[in-house]
Amino acid sequence: MISKRIVLHFPNRLVDQPIVYKLVKEYDLQFNILKAYVTPQEEGLMVLELTGKDENFNKGIEYLQSCGVKIQPLSQDVIRNEVKCTDCGVCVPICPTAALVVDPITRKVHFYDNKCIACELCVKACPTRAMEVHF
C-alpha cells in the first residue's frame, strides 16, 4: 500500500472533464480531496491524498500524466521560510493536523510537511508571514 499527498495541476482544456473518478473506477484508488479550485485563468488545482496498492498507484499517476495533468508532491508547495520564522509557535494551535510542533527541548518549531494538508490557515496567522505557498 502507498499513500501520498499530491498536488494536481489541470490545464484549462481539462477543467470540464471527469478525470479523478477514473482513479477509483479503473485503478481502485482511494482519494481524499484536501483542496480544489479553478483559478481565474481557468486552470484547475487539486490537492489529493491518494491511497492504494503500489502498482495501482503508479498506474493511476501515469494515467493522470497521460491526460496532461501536472503532478507535484505536496511537500514542495507549502514551505517554511527559515529566515523569516522566529520559532515563536503561535501557528501551532492553529494547525489542524499537528504539522507544526514545538520541540520541548530546543523550543524551536518543527514543520512536518508530510502532515500538511495545505489548508493555509497558518499562512496569514504567522506574524512574520514565514509560511509560503507555492502552487
Binding site: 522566529t86 520559532d87 515563536c88 494551535p93 492553529i94 506574524p127 512574520t128
Partner: protein, 400 residues
C-alpha cells in the same frame, strides 16, 4: 555582597562569571543559593516578541533649498511619519500604515507593510523613499521633497520605544462562537486555542520582580545593538497582585528603551503583521542583572512553574474593559502545549519566541564575557508598588 563597580572590574580582567536566566536555575538547584550568589556575577535575560509602542526618530539633514517638515507631512515608503517637530526631525511609529492600505475593509485585513517593516528594512540597509510636503516660509522656502534615503546617511536614527518588555502578560482566549482576530493572534471560537506572549523564566522584568537592579539608565541589548532603559514604560503598573516570590500575576512593569538604530541588526527588529489587527515590530531585548546579593540571586532563579498569569476572554471581557480572569496558569503549563480553561483542554501558542530569547541571553552573555559590554549603574529607580504609581483607565467627560 558585590557592587556593579566590582563586577565591571572583573569584566575588564576577563574574570567575570555570567549565566543566562535559564542556566542560573540549574546552578542554584545544584549548588544552593549561597554558593551560586558567590560564584555568579551577572545573569543575562532575553525576550523577543511583538512590542507595538515602538518607533524611531530621524534627523534627515537639510535639503538645498531648505524645507520645514514641521507642520507639513512626510511619508517613508508611503508610511506616514510624524513631523510635528522642527525642520527635519521625524518620528516613525511601528504601527503606522500607508493611507491606501485597505485596513479591515476586507476583513480580516492582512496588514502586509507598515512602520515595523520599514524599520526592519532601514536597519537592513535598504534605500527608502521619502516624500514630504510643507507650506513654505521665508527661511524654509521649499514645499516639496522626494528623495531616496539610507540609514547610513541620516544624521540621527534612534530607536525609541515608549513601552516594551512587559513584565508578564495575559493569556488570550475566545469564549464566543466565532473566530476573532486580535493583537494576541487568531483566536478560534469556544476556547479553540490560548495564546500567550512572554519568555517566562528568561524575560527581564520577571527575573527582577521588584526592579532592584533594572532602573533608568540600565544598559541593555536592544535590537542586536546597545541601548538603555530611558524611563518606566507607559502603562507601568507595579501595584498588581503578586505571588509570595514577588512575581506579578498579571501585566505589571514596563520599560521605555532607547538606542542608536545604526548599530542594530535587522534580525532583531522584525516587521510583524497581525491578521485583522495591524502592523507592529518584534523587538529583541536582553537585560543583564548583576548578582549583588542573595536576594537578587533568589529572584533570577525563579522558574516557569513559579510564574503565574491570567487567562482573559478577548471576545468580550477584554474589549469591554470588564475586569476578571477565567483562571490562573503558570508558564510551565503554557509551555506544555495545553492548559485547562473552564474544564476544557485548550492548545496553547506563544507569540514570543523562547528560542530567540535564549539566543539573546546567550549573545549578551558572550558580550559580557568577552569584555565588550560593561554594566551601568541605574541613575534612578523604576516606580515600585509602594510609590502608588498606577495604570488608570480613561475617565470620559462630556464636552459642553
Amino acid at each position: 555582597m558585590k557592587t556593579i563597580k566590582e563586577i565591571n572590574e572583573k569584566i575588564k580582567k576577563g574574570e567575570v562569571v555570567v549565566a543566562t536566566a535559564e542556566e542560573i536555575i540549574d546552578l542554584v538547584n545544584k549548588k544552593g543559593l549561597k554558593k551560586a550568589t558567590q560564584e555568579v556575577d551577572v545573569v543575562t535575560t532575553g525576550t523577543f516578541g511583538p512590542m507595538c509602542s515602538s518607533g524611531a526618530y530621524f534627523n534627515i539633514g537639510h535639503s538645498k533649498p531648505r524645507i520645514k517638515l514641521g507642520g507639513g507631512s512626510c511619508k517613508l515608503n508611503d508610511v506616514p511619519a510624524y513631523c510635528g517637530f522642527a525642520a527635519v526631525d521625524i518620528y516613525l511609529g511601528a504601527t503606522a500604515i500607508p493611507d491606501d492600505d485597505p485596513r479591515n475593509k476586507i476583513f480580516p485585513g492582512e496588514f502586509r507593510y507598515g512602520g515595523g517593516h520599514l524599520i526592519q528594512e532601514l536597519v537592513a540597509g535598504k534605500d527608502i523613499r521619502l516624500e514630504a510636503t510643507a507650506y513654505g516660509t521665508d527661511c524654509y522656502p521649499r514645499k516639496k521633497l522626494e528623495t531616496l534615503v539610507n540609514l547610513k546617511d541620516l544624521n540621527e536614527a534612534v530607536l525609541f520605544n515608549i513601552r516594551n518588555c512587559y513584565q508578564n502578560y495575559n493569556v488570550a482566549v475566545n469564549l464566543s462562537d466565532k473566530i476573532i482576530y486580535t493583537y494576541m493572534g487568531v483566536l478560534k471560537p469556544k476556547l479553540g486555542n490560548a495564546n500567550y506572549c512572554s519568555a517566562g523564566q528568561l524575560s527581564p522584568l520577571l527575573k527582577d520582580p521588584y526592579y532592584k537592579t533594572i532602573g533608568i539608565g540600565t544598559k541593555i541589548f536592544l535590537g542586536g545593538g546597545i541601548g538603555y532603559v530611558a524611563w518606566q514604560g507607559t502603562q507601568h503598573n507595579p501595584g498588581v497582585k503578586r505571588k509570595d516570590n514577588g512575581v506579578p500575576q498579571a501585566p505589571a512593569g514596563t520599560l521605555a528603551v532607547i538606542g542608536d538604530l545604526k548599530q542594530m541588526k535587522s534580525e532583531w527588529l522584525l516587521g510583524t503583521s497581525m491578521l485583522g489587527y495591524g502592523v507592529t515590530l518584534t523587538v529583541g531585548i536582553g537585560v543583564p542583572i548583576p548578582i549583588l546579593d542573595e536576594e537578587i540571586a533568589k529572584y533570577v532563579a525563579i522558574k516557569d512553574e513559579e510564574i503565574y498569569t491570567q487567562v482573559v476572554d478577548y471576545s468580550a471581557a477584554y474589549p469591554q474593559m470588564v475586569p476578571g480572569s477565567l483562571g490562573e496558569v503558570n508558564y510551565a503549563q503554557l509551555n506544555s502545549g495545553k492548559i485547562i480553561v473552564q474544564g476544557k483542554e485548550v492548545p496553547t501558542g506563544n507569540l514570543s519566541s523562547y528560542s530567540k530569547a535564549r539566543e539573546i541571553a546567550q549573545e549578551l552573555k558572550s558580550w559580557i564575557k568577552n569584555g565588550d559590554f560593561l554594566l551601568s549603574e541605574p541613575v534612578a529607580p523604576l516606580p515600585v508598588a509602594e510609590s502608588g504609581y498606577t495604570f488608570k483607565p480613561l475617565k470620559e467627560r462630556p464636552i459642553e
